[in-house]
């Protein structure tokens, strides 16, 4: 870069043979050279950072482009700073040496942040999820708000703001719930042992086919899975377009219960017997008086 500096900035007499290496440039000329360096190369770095950000943003993602632009800007500025310092006459070898020692010290102190930073670069490259997708990271389910260098920010479905370090994401299993356009809703249910399994499966299929949110391709899955302790167990798998999860779940469950009631299909449930202590028998329940909810009259009144 120094070789580009015009020769008239150096102090010399006309006709004099000059050995450039022996000349000591004046402090003012150093300042001017440094100024020219900054004036020429700083805008170039800014333009390069913008171009790099756009190119990477188009190929990968907006977030990756933003990070690339910042990296180019920071690295370019550091290089320019080193060149300007050289031009000003500073001996940067000593500075670089000290920086090396400092880097080791900082690395030990900031190893977690560095790990997050490197993990962030891998996440931006691999793209396991994008901004706007719903993800499950460990036990946290939320919508990705931003993918940054050190962490990923989520907004949970009950509107909490969660910051997840990138290192955690690289080490954990991450489920991107909305990656594919359709999903399957899995329901396990049981019916009483006295029911006919084929009839139950036919009823479930009819309820699924009548539901407007349930896709008919891929077709609903209805399986008789097990002879359970208390019930005949079935598995139902319903495909839906990913934005219809709540609509399908509510409408199918309600529709199935209504249809089961109409068909007289019983869903068994556990019964509880109350004991007052381990030595006593169960409390007996004896009907002494029948009370009519509608009229408020009791059987005793009727007999009178």
């Amino acid at each position: 870069m120094v070789a580009l500096i015009p020769s008239f900035l150096l102090t010399a007499q006309p006709g004099e043979v000059i050995n450039v290496a022996e000349l000591a440039p004046s402090p003012w000329s150093n300042l001017i050279r440094a100024g020219i360096l900054i004036a020429v190369f700083l805008p170039a770095i800014l333009i390069l950072a913008k171009i790099g950000s756009k190119v990477v943003g188009r190929r990968l993602s907006g977030q990756a482009g933003f990070v690339t632009g910042k990296l180019i800007l920071y690295l370019g500025t550091l290089l320019l700073l080193a060149t300007v310092m050289l031009q000003m006459g500073f001996k940067i070898t000593a500075v670089l040496g000290a920086a090396g020692v400092l880097t080791v010290a900082i690395s030990f102190a900031a190893q977690t942040s560095l790990s997050n930073l490197i993990s962030g670069i891998f996440i931006l490259w691999e793209q396991p999820f994008k901004v706007g997708e719903v993800v499950l990271i460990n036990d946290t389910r939320g919508i990705v708000v931003s993918v940054d260098l050190l962490s990923v920010k989520l907004r949970t479905l009950d509107n909490l703001y969660v910051r997840v370090p990138n290192e955690t994401i690289i080490k954990s299993q991450v489920t991107t719930i909305t990656r594919f356009p359709i999903r399957r809703l899995d329901i396990n249910l049981g019916v009483a042992y006295r029911e006919d399994p084929e009839r139950v499966m036919r009823v479930i299929r009819e309820v699924a086919e009548a539901n407007p949110h349930c896709l008919d391709e891929p077709p609903p899955i209805v399986l008789f899975t097990n002879f359970g302790d208390s019930a005949l167990e079935f598995f139902v798998g319903l495909w839906f377009e990913k934005s219809n999860f709540l609509n399908l779940r509510n409408s199918f469950m309600i529709g199935l219960k209504k249809r089961f009631d109409e068909e007289g299909i019983e869903i068994p449930f556990p019964h509880v017997t109350l004991y007052s202590g381990s030595e006593t028998k169960p409390f007996p329940v004896e009907v002494t008086e029948r009370f009519s909810v509608r009229s408020g009259e009791t059987n005793a009144n009727h007999e009178d």
Binding site: F180, P181, I182, E209, P212, H213, C214, L215, D216, E217, P218, W239, F240, E241, N244
Partner: protein
Amino acid sequence: MVADGMVTDGFRSLFHPWDGRGRFYLAVGNLRVRAVFSAGDLLLAREMSPDSAFERRLEETEPEGVAWTRFSLKEETGRVLLEPVLPERPILVRTRTPIVVPPDTAGVFYVSVPLSVGISASATSPAASTPVRLACWLTQGLSDSWYGDPMMGEYCYSLKSRARRQLEDGGIHRGDAQCKVLFENQTSESFTVDKFCIHTDSLGLFASEKTFWTSTLVLTRRDREDDLLFKSAPGTPPEAGDTKAVAPPRKAEGQGRLKLPFASSWLR
């Protein structure tokens, strides 16, 4: 013009615009549409009622239980256009029985595609800007479906009726458009057709004396290709007779690629 309180049956009367006076009722297929202007706004409501319950409530201006949608229109709006349009999503169609198409052969199918009612508003002057589409409602309740594999595919409607080999087989219903689908097998192997997808945005809509027609859809299978090439042939097939154009294709380019039916089998 359509008269106040008139109940229109079918799409035939929809080629005349409504001037917004009084009330307007439309019955096509299972769809019932009510329209009324109120305080400068257009109120629209729809019901899917295959029985006469809708007709019994005609005397009520704003009956209970009807979900109205209110549209705020520009002051110069003076016409409401109701027109037949093809559904906005692709249609998944199944054949009655799987058909095997041998090499260098073409198989023909006819599909009855349920139409939608497109409701648009425009200014009174014919020289005014393009009508603004307010709503688009199917005349039959169609189920949601998916064409493709679970990772990548198309969200579409599922047709209740099946693709048929003869035009007259199965009847022609009001509110449907007949679509002729041609399968061309340009490979050296037979292939089986049991379901396919019709991209309605690449088809034009036409009207004949008896029914509506779409452009002919040609699906071609070529060697060493994993998908089908679909193309919309201009005009209607010869069996449609004399037709007049109702609506052009929504997409200018009438061709594209269609994934192979994911559950179909390929004979070797």
